[in-house]
């Protein structure tokens, strides 16, 4: 099945920038076990097609959210863009060049923060800067790290270790670390998924504030409709897995800077929200029903 490429246009659609990200026919198949030993022990499984021919173009400096039912391969897609996982077919290109593995042009914010416990806040950020730019003077590295610590509002916590921080503070370090290497594209994999609702709302506001200061291409994986509506220019809704694909792409026309308190006063807010809810509940129901019906083993 070949789907026509979906295109996301930003206000500067005509402008061709170096950060143009393009996903061409990306599929991901996790091979099943079919060797004789697995068959004898009844452990054989069929190939699992996680992603089927995904096509997506993302214009520079756009905030794109990817939302879909659980198990739809959102994280798999993000890992492919990050270069941590190889697509089975297809390719991801940045400015027309196919990516060959991970690179510092893409910063990643992880769901579980992934801060090194033995490094302080400053050292965690400086580790990223030094890895990408080893020739930079240490004093300059520290100055840049300090700048990003201030950007995420963590001044005073420079010498703390991650176990002394709350989840929200840890993720702010994660965001500072991802931004400190000045990537063209920021990839966020459910960055607020492990946080409580109040902290999550606070960090969403922080991301909105930071994005107003440093406009970059951002790809955000999320489960939250409100989060997607607050932060995104475009929302990519995915179908359920296996063989997940892009169902629809929504434009989010709200003016910036946005505020969570006044966002729902925009005339399009409730319509967009209802559409997303309808899509997600339909897909989630289908996922639940298929789990009941389909046997796990081949």
């Amino acid at each position: 099945m070949i789907t026509p490429p979906h295109t996301v246009f930003s206000e500067a659609a005509a402008m061709t920038s170096s950060a143009h990200l393009s996903i061409h026919n990306v599929s991901k198949v996790f091979p099943g076990k079919r060797d004789w030993f697995s068959r004898i022990t009844h452990r054989a499984s069929i190939d699992y097609i996680a992603l089927d021919q995904i096509n997506l173009d993302i214009e520079p400096n756009t905030f794109v959210s990817i939302i879909g039912p659980s198990g739809c391969g959102k994280s798999t897609l993000l890992n492919i863009i990050a270069g941590l996982s190889q697509p089975t077919t297809g390719a991801v290109t940045i400015a027309g060049l196919p990516i060959a593995g991970p690179g510092s042009d893409r910063g990643v914010v992880f769901q579980n923060y992934a801060l090194m416990p033995w490094m302080t806040v400053l050292e965690n950020i400086r580790f990223a800067i030094e890895t990408v730019n080893p020739k930079l003077a240490v004093s300059r590295q520290k100055a840049i790290a300090q700048e990003y610590i201030e950007l995420v509002g963590l001044q005073g916590a420079e010498r703390k270790h991650p176990h002394e921080l709350s989840g929200g503070m840890k993720q702010r370090v994660g965001i500072a670390r991802a931004l400190a290497t000045n990537p063209q594209i920021l990839l966020m994999d459910e960055p607020f998924g492990a946080l409580d609702a109040l902290t999550r709302g606070f960090l969403q506001d922080e991301v909105e504030r930071i994005w107003e200061q440093q406009r970059k291409t951002v790809i955000l994986i999320t489960h939250s409709i409100e989060e997607a509506l607050l932060l995104s220019d475009k929302i990519v809704m995915m179908t359920r897995g296996p063989e997940a694909n892009i169902a629809r792409i929504l434009d989010v026309p709200f003016p910036r800077p946005r505020h969570r308190e006044t966002l729902d006063q925009h005339p399009a807010y409730h319509e967009l929200k209802a559409e997303m809810e309808a899509h997600l509940s339909q897909e989630t129901r289908a996922v639940e029903e298929s789990r009941i019906r389909r046997p796990v083993k081949a």
């Binding site: 990050a82 270069g83 941590l84 593995g101 991970p102 690179g103 510092s104 893409r106 910063g107 990643v108 992880f110 579980n112 992934a114 090194m116 416990p117 033995w118 490094m119 580790f127 990223a128 890895t131 990408v132 270790h161 991650p162 176990h163 002394e164 670390r177 290497t181």
Partner: protein, 277 residues
Amino acid sequence: MTNHILQPALSRPKPFTLSTNQKAILLFLAILIVTLVFWETGARLELFSPLMPSASETFKDFWFWVSDPFFDYGPNDKGIGLLLLTSLRRVLIGFTIGAAIAIPLGILIGLSDVASRAVDPFIQILKPVSPLAWLPLGLGLLKNSESTALFVIAITSIWPTLINTKFGVSNVDQSYLDVARTLGASRWRTLTKVILPAAAPYIVSGLRISIGIAWLVIVAAEILVGGAGIGYFVWNEWNNLKITSIITAIIVIGIVGLLLDRVFGLLQHWVAFGQRL
């Protein structure tokens, strides 16, 4: 570190309430006193073997050894502190040799699946062997009791450190490795800045087990090779039928073992940074 600030849940103070710690100390003292009284009366009433000294005699002898630990009146008449230093020196040298082999080898087999599978049969077969079985081999090869003691301690120290290092290196949290990969870190930088610090708590816990076993083994090794040290002292005093000295040695060996364990416990806490093992 957390501060235990105990605040009474009720404003009305209850009479005679003891904390868990206070209760434990009282029970500890009770057990100690009952044991000592049983020992003392049993020895006085000659309930035990005639060799068995009373608690008070043992305490007197214990005080003799502990009050002047560093006298030296010849090869078979040294203070207990000097004997302990001899044994500790052997344990630390042997342990250092063992760690110097185990940690690099553990890192290597932790990083390489092929090397790990290739070396695993050797580890699995040699690990369960009693360290003392190596002693005659050491004597035969090295023809020297001092080197043999070090050899046995080194062999003993290898296994727990090797296995823990391998486990720590091969089980680094994937997300730390993903961070290093997304930043484009070199293999060397990933190893020194990510894998080794992440594995450090496991390596230190391996060293902690190793030094504990090395301290167990040194006494037995010194009984067999002789010459010097706290183990030789235990055997020598047995030949003199001085049970009080043997009991003194047992207590002192236990205290030193406890201190060694605590030192590595502190080191473990120091490299863990709040990670739970």
